[in-house]
Each structure stands twice: as structure tokens, then as C-alpha cells.
């Protein structure tokens, strides 16, 4: 479970989006997921966008949204059947929202909405989870709850990479970190990557007073 951290404009979200082909990128190096390109491995990768990018007034229940995680696998002209609904129910239960399956998404709290998005990734049975700011604008209770869900997934063998902005909570939620400031400044275990010197380098503040 890795945090992608860095100052505003460091390119954290852009990095994730360019990995997934959502924004055009220019790079000499090849992007590979599980040793192959994204087009042939997208089933194994789940993306959870920032909650604020989504229209939460969309008329749908929690269960509808979670079922969307299976749409691509279902294919064209196939309706959502019992099997998909059961998988979606199980995913909602896994994020602690079993009793909210019929609730309209607009009536959920911010933290619940975030958990619905995580559940949508769960029904994909992905091995790699890419999250953009999952802890943004959620209350402390939800943050703990969400971290527990992600840690359980990690224990089951899912790899997790999350854009994260709160330096104080990196240590409690993540075991490794990538420090980004246009380029990778440091990466490794949280304690190694987040030294004062590296943080100063990434965030551009200096320990020594200027002469």
C-alpha cells in the first residue's frame, strides 16, 4: 500500500491519469501493467477518481453505482443480472454499507460516497487499485474506516497506490511512499522516503535560513 505524495502541482493525479491513458503523456519509457500494456490488463486494474469529479446528483442507488464496476465485463446488450447484483451487495458489505444499497447516492455522506467508489472497484476483482485522493474531504471516522477497508484488501493481496495530500497521516495509513515533485524525489518505506531532507527538497522549503 503506497502513498503518492508531493506538493500541489507536483503531478500526482496527472501521473496516475497518464498511466491509465486518461491524459496524453510524452515519455520515452513504456508503461506496463503486470508486464503488458494497459489495454490488455485493464480488467486487473481499478481506478477510483476523485470524488469531486463525479456528478452525485445522478439518479442511482448505491447498488447501481457499484454494479457499474461490472459493466465492461458484462459487455454490450447484457442487463445487470442476479450474479452482478450479488457481487455488488458483497462489495457494499465489505466497505460497511450493506444497509445503504437502496439509498440514492446524492443522499450519502462524502465518506459513504467514497466507500461506494471503493466498492465499485472491488466488484472488478482488480489486483491493482489506483486511487486519487481517497481521503480528501472525509471526516476522521470515515478516514479510519476507509483505511481499514484498504488495509484489509492489501492483506488479501491487492496492490494499492493512492494519491495522498495529508503528510501527517501517511505513516498511519501506508507502508511505503513515493515522493513526487515533477520527478520522483524519493521512494521506499515511509520512514525512508519521508525524511526531512527529502520533504524539504520536494516541497521547496529550506531548513537553513537564507544568508
Amino acid at each position: 500500500m503506497t502513498a503518492l505524495i508531493g506538493p500541489n502541482g507536483a503531478g500526482k493525479s496527472t501521473l496516475i491519469k497518464s498511466l491509465l491513458g486518461l491524459v496524453p503523456f510524452v515519455t520515452a519509457e513504456r508503461i506496463a501493467f503486470f508486464g503488458a500494456d494497459f489495454a490488455s490488463t485493464r480488467q486487473r486494474v481499478a481506478y477510483i477518481p476523485q470524488r469531486s469529479q463525479i456528478d452525485w446528483n445522478f439518479p442511482a442507488s448505491s447498488l447501481d453505482i457499484v454494479a457499474m464496476g461490472r459493466y465492461a465485463q458484462l459487455g454490450l446488450f447484457r442487463r445487470v443480472g442476479r450474479e452482478t447484483r450479488d457481487a455488488a451487495r458483497a462489495a457494499l458489505a465489505a466497505v460497511g454499507l450493506a444497509d445503504a444499497e437502496r439509498t440514492q447516492i446524492g443522499a450519502l455522506s462524502g465518506g459513504q460516497q467514497q466507500r461506494v467508489l471503493v466498492a465499485r472497484a472491488l466488484v472488478q476483482d482488480a489486483e491493482l487499485l489506483l486511487l486519487d485522493e481517497p481521503f480528501a474531504n472525509v471526516d476522521a471516522f470515515t478516514e479510519t474506516r476507509l483505511a481499514e477497508v484498504l488495509q484489509r484488501l492489501r492483506a488479501d493481496g491487492t496492490t494499492i497506490l493512492a494519491v495522498h495530500h495529508d503528510l501527517r497521516s501517511v505513516r498511519s495509513h501506508f507502508d511505503s511512499a513515493i515522493l513526487l515533485s515533477n520527478t520522483i524525489v524519493a521512494q521506499g518505506a515511509v520512514a525512508e522516503a519521508m525524511t526531512d531532507a527529502k520533504l524539504a527538497q520536494a516541497y521547496g522549503f529550506h531548513a537553513e535560513p537564507r544568508a
Binding site: A39, R42, Y47, I48, I54, A72, R78, Q104, G106
Partner: protein, 291 residues
Amino acid sequence: MSAGSLGANTLGVLAGCVLFGALAGAVGTFVLARRRALVADVAGHAALPGIALAFLAGEALGLGGRTPWLLLAGGACTALLAAWCVAILSRWRRVGADGALAVSLAGFFGLGAVLFSVVQSHPAGSQGGLRTLLLGSAAAMGHSEVLTLAALACATLVLLVAFSKELALVAFDEEFARTAGLPVRRLDLLLTLLLVAAVVAGMQLAGIVLVVAMLIAPAAAARNIGVWTQGRLGGVTCIAALIGALSAAIGVFASRSTAGVPTGAAMTLAAAATFLATIPLARTADRSARA
């Protein structure tokens, strides 16, 4: 004429209007969800040059300028072209989406006005005035127009139902849809085609200026009701179709009972009034959700 003594022609007009109202409401729900409401407005206005060209082409080819399917096809072509212009211009940041919409709408409408002056100088074009097209004239709808509209409506609704799952996902979360491997561009093109189909189906009834209201107002009203009833997309789409159909029927009866009231204007007014009436429902639901 009272509502009780409807002639065969009126029944045809009523059937055509109700069918269009239902179609516009259903398509409008997806258009609104994908935030393409103003593209519908552009498509309506941009149908004008296509209609003028189709009229001239019909006369030149000896089919007659008023061949319904030719007029619809002509309107659809320029409406699609305008929607494509919006998409291209929006990508250019210096213009932005709103600028692209405004320029496309006015540009195509202006072209249509110029072409229409040519049509009206044509001997066969003098009776069919521009005003009729702008505000619609449902009463002038004949048998073949109703049948053309019915065919268009059926095809559009079948496509809408067939792709509703994918269209819903793209509307709700485009980025996720792309990472899941859905062909987002082709689905957007499909939605634009459905939108244009609904617009050209309704342009003779509601007029090219007002047709956007029949797509968006019932959909927006249904969304308000959806908030209130915890509705889901399928239910909201059906409610929108119902509101569209009822508004259309009200429009037909209003213009029959009061001389001089255009059917298109009356039906859009009914749809807009329904939307206004549903705002308190959504507000109440929002307030109780926050409490």
C-alpha cells in the same frame, strides 16, 4: 372545437405529439445527465440550414421541396455538423465550451436564415414560412409526417434502451468508463445521434427554437421527482417520458381550444411549468436528507 369532437387529423397530430414528447423526455434524461443540454439547443437551431438545403435539393431533384424524410435528413445533417463543431471548438481552450456553443448556434442559424431567403424566393417555397419552422406547426402535420416521426421515435428508443447501461456509465463517471475500456467517444457520438434524432423529430411540432425545452424540461422535472422518490435512472427516464407525453397532449388540447395558440409553444410551456412545480419536491427532499 371541443376536446370531445376530435377529428381523424387531430388524433394523428395528438399521436405524433405524444410520441415525440415521450421520445424527447427519454432522450433528454441521458442528455441532461451527460450535461449536453445546450448541444440540443445548438442542434435545433442548426437544423435550419439543413432544412433549407433539403428543400432546394428536393425541388431540384423533382421530389418536391416538402418531402418529410428529406427535410428531416437535411436538418439532421447540419445539426450533427454543428454538434461536431461544438466538440472541436470546445477542445480549443481559448474559446471554451460556452463560447463554442454560442458561436455554433448563431453561426448555423445565421446560415439557415440566409438560405431561407433563397427558399422563399423560390416559387414553391413562399407558403412555407420561416416562422412556421421557428415555432412549429403541429396542426399542419399530415399522415406521412406522423409515420416518419413514429419510425424515427421507435428506432431512437430501441437504441437508447440497448445502450442505456453504457450511456449511463459514461454520463456518471467518464474517466472510470474510459479506464474500464468503454468506447467513450463512440458512445458520445451515439448520444449525439439520438439527441439529433429527437430534435429533428420534434422540429415540425415544437419548432427549432423551442424543441430543446421538450428535451430538457421533462428530464429536469423527472430528476426533481427522482430526488424526492429516491428514483433510479430507469424510473427517472420513464417519468421524463411520461411528463413529455403529457405536456405534448396538453399542448395539442390548448391549441385546439384556444384559437391562435401554437401547439409547440403550449407544450413547451406545459413542460416548463411542470419543471417549476417539481422544484419544491427536490428542495424538500434535499432538506430532509441534510437533517
